[in-house]
Amino acid sequence: MLSVDDQLSMALLVRNDLEMTPGKVAVQCAHAAVDCSLQARKIIPQIFEMWRNTGSRKICLAALDEEDILYWKEKCNEVGLVHSLVRDAGRTEVPSETITVLGVGPAHKTSLDDLFSNLDLYGVE
């Protein structure tokens, strides 16, 4: 059994200021999850496999707005975490090129928790 320190997870930061239907949010998160997974499989294959084998944990967090998301993207760059910024093609609901979700990881759950400790879970009012 893995200790808590070894647990791996992926964080999906969703912009809370956009009015998207649950289906739209789900699809945007899925884009981010697929992108991050494909990147991770290339760059950090061992972490990726371990994450896949331990339930592919994912968590959705609420980001305030575009500025907030870009701030977190910059943080991920600094810390060196795999991440993927989703820009919507704008065929539905939001204008084209709108930034909707930032996917981060898979990475150690503890480092994600440290980084995003002040973000709320998405969808919990």
Partner: protein, 138 residues
């Protein structure tokens, strides 16, 4: 197998079927009877998408690559219950369309073993629409 034929096989170009120039999409069917919250739904759809991309990647890599190149179109629709998800699964299987089921580990919100999402595709949009076209968007 002799050494020469082994070498030949190793160096031969991979056999891939040509991809037809038609839109490809991935449909994610949510089990609406579970009453999941939106963050939970998003995570489950994320699981389903990664799972189906990886498994489809080993059976129909040319389709997956084309789909990624087209901007990985995804659509989220809802099924009323597990029974309807099973019907859709049978129809997709009969049509030889790749599917993948997501069963929740039950750490949050819903009981362990709940059947949360059925991913259908990625595959040609027109053929998927024959199976899921009547379902309403989430």
């Amino acid at each position: 197998m002799g050494f020469r034929s082994f070498l030949h096989r190793m160096t031969a170009p991979k056999m891939t079927k040509p991809v037809e120039n038609r839109p490809i999409k991935l449909v994610l069917v949510i089990n609406h009877s579970l009453g999941m919250k939106k963050g939970k739904i998003a995570a489950q759809v994320g699981h389903a998408s990664v799972q189906t991309v990886l498994s489809a990647g080993s059976v129909i890599p040319h389709i997956v690559d084309a789909w990624l190149g087209q901007g990985q179109k995804k659509v989220c629709v809802k099924a009323t219950d597990e029974q309807q998800m099973n019907d859709l699964f049978s129809k997709a299987s009969q049509a030889n369309i790749h599917t993948s089921k997501t069963i929740d580990a039950g750490h949050t919100q819903i009981p362990k073993g709940s059947y949360t999402v059925l991913a259908i595709g990625p595959w040609y949009e027109a053929e998927i629409d024959e199976i899921t076209g009547h379902l309403s968007l989430l």
